[in-house]
């Protein structure tokens, strides 16, 4: 993490995977902590199953966008997007990736954690929880600007009663997944 609590985060996935939801959870935690928080989202045509990306920036920024090679941390809900959005992150940034297989060694970033979030989500009852498993993995690493309990509060705030419990369960599986 940089000084003065500045962090630039990307959330990358395919339309329909819940990229926007994860973005809002992280941003919600930033607002609750009293930090200046900025997000940028993809809407419209690209949401129909195409590659989508969101940014979260905390700290004193005026632009919601992240320049190539400047991001501190990335959540990849789909490993295929590493090639597409990976260049937005610094070389030493932390990558958290959903992948059923271990990724091939060449050109991989130095700090990468993978988890089969889709499989865990299916076990929990639906692939829609994939996004929260990856968020859990990221939160558990301690690399995010915000602590786990702020994210949990944000998940509860944004989930609605029906999904709150399942979302928190998926988040918890992600946190534990890191230690496996």
């Amino acid at each position: 993490m940089k000084q003065q609590m500045k962090q630039q985060i990307i959330v990358s996935g395919m339309g329909g995977q819940g990229v926007l939801f994860v973005t809002r959870i992280i941003a919600g935690a930033g607002v609750a902590m009293g930090l200046e928080t900025f997000t940028s989202e993809t809407h419209g045509m690209a949401q129909r199953g195409g590659s989508v990306i969101s940014f979260v920036k905390v700290g004193s920024f005026k632009s919601p966008l992240i320049r190539r090679g400047q991001g501190d941390l990335g959540l990849f809900l789909h490993a295929q997007n590493l090639e597409v959005h990976g260049n937005l992150l610094q070389k030493e940034a932390d990558f958290f990736v959903n992948s059923a297989v271990s990724l091939p060694g060449d050109n991989l970033p130095a700090n990468i954690s993978t988890i089969d979030a889709s499989a865990i989500a299916r076990e929990l009852g639906s692939p829609v929880y994939t996004n929260l498993v990856i968020l859990g993995l990221t939160a558990g690493s301690g690399k995010l600007f915000c602590p786990v309990d702020e994210l949990e509060k944000s998940i509860k705030d944004l989930s609605g009663e029906r999904f709150s419990e399942a979302n928190l369960a998926a988040f918890q599986q992600g946190i534990e997944g890191l230690n496996k």
């Binding site: 940028s40 809407h43 419209g44 129909r48 199953g49 966008l65 260049n87 692939p127």
Partner: protein, 622 residues
Amino acid sequence: MLDTNNITKKIKMNKQNSKLLMGNEAMGRGLVEAGCRLIAAYPGTPSSEILGAVVANRDETSHDPLHVEWSVNEKIAYEVALAASYTGKRAAVIMKQVGLNVAADPFTRSTYIGTKGGFVVIVADDPGPHSSQTEQDTRLFALFAKAPVFDPASPAEAGAMIEDAFRLSEQYEIPVILRPTTRICHSRQNINIGSVKKDGATAAFEKNPGRWVATPAFLTGLHNDLNTKLVNIAGRKESYPIRHYGDGSSKTCVIASGMAFANSFDLFEELELTEKADLFQVQLPFPLNSSFINNINEQYEKILILEETYSVIEMQLANRSIQGRSDKTVPGCGELTPDVIHDILVQFLKLDIAAEPSPPPARGRRPSLCPGCPHRASFFAIKKTFPKGIFPSDIGCYTLGVNLGAVDTCHCMGACISQGAGFYHSYAQDNGNFPTIVVTIGDSTFFHAGIPALINAVTQKARIIITILDNSTTAMTGQQPTPQSGVLVDGQPGNQVFIPHIVQACGVGFFKKCDPYDINNTRKLLKEADSYIRSDYGGVAVILAKHHCLMDKSNTIQQPRFRMEISDDCIGCGICTTQFECPAISLDEEEKQAWIDQDLCCECGVCDVVCPTGSIKKVEGN
């Protein structure tokens, strides 16, 4: 020189009462806070969520009634809101940039005629473009129509500028444009929540034919008044651009507006440029402040202009030594992202920074119609029935029918029907032979601009098949109701207007309905329609392909579900993946075997008829 202004003061962070709002939500909130009394819009990315935010905040306006509507198109929205302004109330209209093309007729005249109650036009631009058919710059359109235009650089500014825009409009009796861009509309930021203004105005239209009717005899005078208004607005000290970096002693400056300013500001910090050049933010790019024009041209030797997407500030500075679009320092197209501006600043300030190798990133996955989308079934049936047909289509999710080879043209709202007729006349006049022309148009697009085109095609004896893809919603922009839904923007019941009644009233001689999920039946109707258009008495044939959109998950749950599997009989021909193109079906090229991703499959059961070897099957007992 002012280094701060109203808007900047207003958006200073106040932690007690701030909420994380999307730019569109901030503008919706801003309209409600401003005591606006009538708001009309047509949905279009990136502007679509503004009206929803108005409705979400409407419970705070109980003291003053607020009429909110999804109009049938932008021209109509503009006219409805403009008349409300004539009665002395604050009114607003919201659209995307190409919507202003549709509303160009009322827009360009409204600056001459002027307004009474404050009248704000929110037009969201899409540099890039991300989800539009052009990346046109509404600020230039504003210059053309002689309307003042605000250019916000953040969601907070976009929300705060609304009150300023209303005041400017009221002071000069002129329509005022607020021009956010995609990055403003779809960014979220913590934003102060203000109180809602009590207006209390009652409708009072003062008749004045010389103004509201304004025959040509009056227009020179009105035009002259308009020019005077613009001179006065350009002279206001409030619109003097803000200097964010530098003390004014430098001979080098960067002048930016909107998102290009926000990106430049962060780059000034990242690249430590704060001592190297002055940085100005223009909040009112047209009419550009007149003393600013003089001061800049006198004081600075090196000037760089960064604005999206056309040259508006640059044109008004009218200084040949400026660096910007005219000397190609700034690219002539595309979004001014932080990466693009980085490279421009390095060049402009001759910074000693090694060029960063930036191989173009791999293209991501292309978007496609959702699993179970009824449009996919319609397109498959059309393409299969008329492999050599011509397929004009239109704006909406269904433009993605291009992936199935069933969309040959897409131009602007409603164009497909007129283009279908044009194709017919051009082919038929050669030797009477013409290919089967199958037009596809969505229900909301049909209401928006398809109806006059249908009347024209019928009148002119075009022989074409029009398939209206009726999924009972405006899907692409977020499920807004159509006139057929009988639901208003706030969920209250409205009156329904039915597509079949319209089609029949337009004099269409062949009209059949189908559920596109039944591909074989749809193909049968398409063949019947083809026989009709080629018969002696043939003309326009319309097929209404009606099946609800599955973006609303309650629709998916309610329809019959069939678990599908692909047997070993699959020969790997790829018809299901290329010609049907369901995201849930993939082809293992090595194994020559297609497979279904059950996570993505919505079990619509449509795909079994697609497979030539019958290998895609409904699982028995499900």
